[in-house]
Structure formats: structure tokens, C-alpha cells
Assembly symmetry: C2
Homo-oligomer: 332 residues x 2
């Protein structure tokens, strides 16, 4: 398969190269695209240097485009790329288009059928949430979901990570802390503001969690309320989740379901200080789930905590998994 990566030098772009390698994805040819600024440089893939090209305004000579250069680029170019390639788009530009499948392979691989050469990769926070939520939903019927997030700086790309590290150094040196990617200095702070505010007072990031959870799980009845908060970590989004279910649920029954769920690591042994952490979830393909306990507010309710590497399951890994789906006949 000829693969093109758009946004190859970004935080997700670099992870895409690494995930294609680690999963032995059959790449017959690799083309890397980035802004004109990076053209002429190169990145290593399977031991060879691959040149970075400036993005042309034409279709790309590849079978699959993995696009991760932001919504504006995708909106403008994906329809052009889609003439000759299947586009797996990491931006939010097409996610809510009813004609565009929004895929988490462990959950709704079947929805890829009938795609029109654009397939959307979900928002990172949502992808991590549904990995734990969907198996429980299938078994017990989720009705209401309340999510509070602890999102890392790299959710805003490589520049977010650099701004946090640079700003932390400035803080420790007693200097004023510069910021540009984030609305306020992030070092030793938390910021309840990710993406643009909507008319209803929620941010777009928070609304994405509702919209995308409903679309991926194929259930428009489920109610989801999210508070999205940026915290001074480098990688991994963590989420505190409270769910009310239709049917009775116990922590034991939930653990049994999650133990067998694909892409999930059950990390739930508080007595031995085992619970999900950015520290341990960094670089991991699977999403960590733990702190599972009976909700104190709902009779059929559960509280739990998840931590997932948002550059992997929340972006690069999930995109490569979608590309893998394209290689095989999809089960009905």
C-alpha cells in the first residue's frame, strides 16, 4: 500500500511513522508532506531517510492519505485527495458529516462500509473514553455519562509540549512565563478551556465528546456532559468518568467485561497502588482503565478513571488501525 502522511513533522505525524513500523504495516511506498518550511528535510522510516515534500494542490500519488495537519488543511484538500486515495482524516472537519464514517476499529469497524474515500479519525478524548465505555455500554446500557478530563499539552501538538517545557524552565528560573498555544501559562496551572467556546457555554472539545460518542457507539439517546481541562503533562489524556446504566452493574461485573475488551488494559489494584497514570500509559497502545467503583449518586452507576496516550489511540494508532481495516474484507 502506498501511504502518504500529511503533517509528517507534527506530534501525530511522527507517531504515525512509529506506529506503521511497530505494526509492520505493509507500506510499499511512503510519501511525507508538510509545510514548505519543512520541505527538503527528511524523516527516518524503517532505517531509511524519507524526504519531506511541500504539500501540492493536486491529488497525491498514494493509496491512503493519513492527514494530520489541522482542520483548515483537511477541509481544503481532502476532497481533492479523495479523488485518487482513501483519506483517513485526523481533524474534526468531516467527523459530523453523516456521509463520513467516524471509526474506532474495536467498536464500529462495520461503519466503514460505503465510505466515499474520506474516513474520520475521532477526537482524542473521545477515542480514549469509548474504549472503556463501549464494552460497558454493550453489556449494561449506558444512559448518562459525566466526564472530566485531564488533557496533556501535546493534545495541542508539538508546540504545546514545547511551550510547557519552555515555560516550566522559565518559571523555575523566576522569569515571566511566555504562552501562545495556550490561553494562559500552563506550567503549574490547569486551564478549563480547550478549543472554542460554543453558544451553550461548552467548548467545542467538550461538545465533540458528546457528538462523537453518540456517532461511534451508534446511539443518539446517550447523554454526555464533559468538562475538558488542560493540565501540565506532556502526553496522555486522563478522564474521570461517572456513568449511569440502564441495568444493574457491579465493579466486579464491569471488571470482567473490561478484562476481555480489546485495546483495554485493566489497571485496577488500588491496594498495590495500581491505577491508570499518564506515567505508565505514555507510549502504550492500550488504554488503561481502573479506579472502578460503585457510583455513590446513581443506583445503577459506576465511577472509573482512564488514561490513554492521545497521540496513539487518540490519533496515530487509531488512524493506522483504520488503514488496516481497508486491507481486509469487513465483517457485516
Amino acid at each position: 500500500m502506498r501511504i502518504g502522511i500529511v503533517g509528517a513533522t507534527g506530534a501525530v505525524g511522527k507517531e504515525l511513522l512509529s506506529v506503521l513500523e511497530k505494526r509492520n504495516f505493509p507500506v510499499s511506498e511512503l510519501r511525507l508532506y508538510a509545510s514548505a518550511r519543512s520541505a527538503g528535510k527528511s524523516l527516518k522510516f524503517r532505517g531509511k531517510e524519507v524526504n519531506i515534500e511541500a504539500l501540492p494542490e493536486t491529488p497525491l500519488p498514494v493509496d491512503v492519505v493519513l492527514a494530520s495537519a489541522g482542520g483548515a488543511i483537511s477541509k481544503q484538500y481532502a476532497p481533492i485527495w479523495a479523488k485518487q486515495s482513501v483519506v483517513i482524516d485526523n481533524s474534526s472537519a468531516f467527523r459530523y458529516d453523516p456521509g463520513v464514517p467516524l471509526i474506532v476499529p474495536e467498536i464500529n469497524a462495520h461503519a466503514i462500509q460505503g465510505h466515499k474515500n474520506i474516513i474520520a479519525n475521532p477526537n482524542c478524548t473521545t477515542a480514549i473514553l469509548v474504549m472503556a465505555l463501549y464494552p460497558l455500554h454493550k453489556a449494561f446500557g449506558a444512559k448518562r455519562v459525566i466526564v472530566s478530563t485531564y488533557q496533556s499539552s501535546s493534545g495541542a501538538g508539538a508546540s504545546g509540549m514545547e511551550e510547557l517545557l519552555h515555560g516550566t524552565r522559565q518559571y523555575l528560573a523566576g522569569q515571566p512565563v511566555e504562552h501562545k498555544t495556550f490561553a494562559y501559562p500552563l506550567p503549574f496551572n490547569v486551564i478549563p478551556h480547550i478549543d472554542a467556546f460554543q453558544e451553550n457555554g461548552y467548548t467545542k472539545e467538550e461538545m465533540k465528546v458528546l457528538w462523537e460518542t453518540q456517532k461511534i457507539m451508534g446511539d443518539t439517546q446517550i447523554r454526555v456532559s464533559c468538562t475538558a481541562v488542560r493540565v501540565p503533562t506532556l502526553r496522555v489524556h486522563s478522564e474521570a468518568v461517572t456513568v449511569e446504566f440502564e441495568r444493574p452493574i457491579s465493579p466486579e461485573a464491569a471488571r470482567e467485561v473490561l478484562q476481555g475488551a480489546p485495546g483495554v488494559d485493566l489497571v485496577d489494584d488500588p491496594a498495590n497502588k495500581r491505577y491508570p497514570l499518564p506515567l505508565t500509559a505514555t507510549g502504550k497502545f492500550n488504554v488503561e482503565v481502573g479506579r472502578i467503583r460503585k457510583s455513590l449518586v446513581f443506583d445503577n452507576g459506576l465511577d472509573f478513571f482512564v488514561a490513554g496516550d492521545q497521540l496513539l489511540k487518540g490519533a496515530a494508532l487509531n488512524a493506522v488501525q483504520i488503514a488496516e481495516l481497508l486491507q481486509k474484507p469487513v465483517a457485516g
Copy 2:
């Protein structure tokens, strides 16, 4: 009033000195107590050096003891101090004793009546939560409360703050990050583990929020579920809160109530990037409340975000406010 501070060199102890100064509390004599290690040193109060004494095993020659040296010290000595002084105790040792009032002066000042010389100061997370929750509860009747916290390192005292700063320097220098106060390294991490795990899977910190919210608000029917998470900040606990109310509520009506609530700063103008932040709540007596919006999971529900300096309203300020109550006749 003769005031004694036990635990004078700790993070809360230092804030107690500063709050007594800022509120012009009528201190006729000040005695400072700490561990033997600190005895002989001194701290400045109103421009004068005050000697630090080792804690004796006897009653203290003061009218009010402000105790902030941990639960074990309070459990052992508070009954002795209470023979001659009123003890305002910042630990959890007596909070759940039905004979001990647990006081947030803006909310249940009346409950101080009939105290038996021990008055409990609430858990920091709870104190900050109820400042916003109680006025809304009075107006609309809170039924279910879901709280996810973003708690700062100084919630674990001065050593927590030092461990975070030291560890961050180690991380940036590429060295292994030491940790002792926290279960895992806190720099660039979040840890969903504060205080000891209970049999039901919640931590004691999380259960305190339920127990103390019910006791302070005088309502044992209200259901509260909390996830308590340590984040790499220095001061201020932030909390994402979802509440279901008995009666219909709108963000506008909630803002009107909170605008007039004592001890609350309404910081809720997302269009101008105004919302609660550790950065702005640090050192502030009032608790910041914002991000107020209609819940997407409850018909009569509200989501909001609070940030309060847990060394102040969550500890030192509230303790001094309780001491102020002792000076004046309490309204029935």
C-alpha cells in the same frame, strides 16, 4: 484573644499567621508550636519575631488553639488542649464526631452553638466545593453532585510543594525523579490517589467530600460522588462539578445566586477568557466559580468549575473565620 498555632512551620501554619495579620484579628498574645526540630527558631508576626516552642504535653496558655499538625497530633492532644482552650482543628480527627461542629462560617455558623471546645475545620476540597454548592442548594435543592478534582501539591503540605519543584528540576535535567510524599512522581503526571483507599474503592479524600458536604449543608439526603486527583500545581484546588437539582435551574439564575454569595467570586465570561484558574485564585480569600452551563445529562442540572486556594479557604482562612465567630454572639 490569646492564640496558639500548632504546626506553625507547616504550609497551613504560615498562612494562619498571614491571615491573622490581613484580617486584623485581635491577637493579644501569640504562641507558636511545632516539632522539637523547629523549636528555638522564630517566625515574624506583625513585624515582631515570635519564638517557636516545642509542643508540650499539657494544656496551652491560650484562648484559642489553631491546630494544623496532622490527625495523629490532634487526636492525641486536642482533648488536653480543650480543657483550657477552644480548639479549631484542621485535621479530620474529629470532623465526623456528632458532638463536634464542622463549620464553614458562610454556611453553618449557627452549628457552632453548644460546641465542647473542639470545632472542626473541613477538608480543603469540601470547603471549596460547598462555597459554590450551598447557595445553589438553598435556591434549587441539590440532589446529586459529581465532583472531579484537580488538587495541588501543597494539599500534602509544604513537603508536597517542595517535592514537585525539586522533581520538576530533576525531570528537566534528565535525572530520575524522586518521590516520597506522593505515591508516584508528580511532575508532568496526574495521580488519582489522595489519602488511603477504603473498602468501597473510594479514597478517604473522596469519601470526606461526601461526609463533610452532608454535615456542613445539614442534609444527609444529598448524594455526592468524587474522584480526587493530584495534579502538578503548587496551590489551589480546582473542581469540575455536575449537579442535579430538585427544581429547574438556568445558568442565568445560578449566576444571579452566586453573584451575591459571600466568599464567592463569579469569574464567568468565556468570551473574554475569564474562568476560574489556579493562576488567578492563588492567594485569594474568595473561591472562583465559572464555566457555568446547563448540564447535558440532567434536565434540572448544572455544570460548573471552581478554583480556590486550599491553604486559605480550604484551611487557614476558614479556621480564622471560625475564631472570629467565637468573638461575637452567634445568631440563632
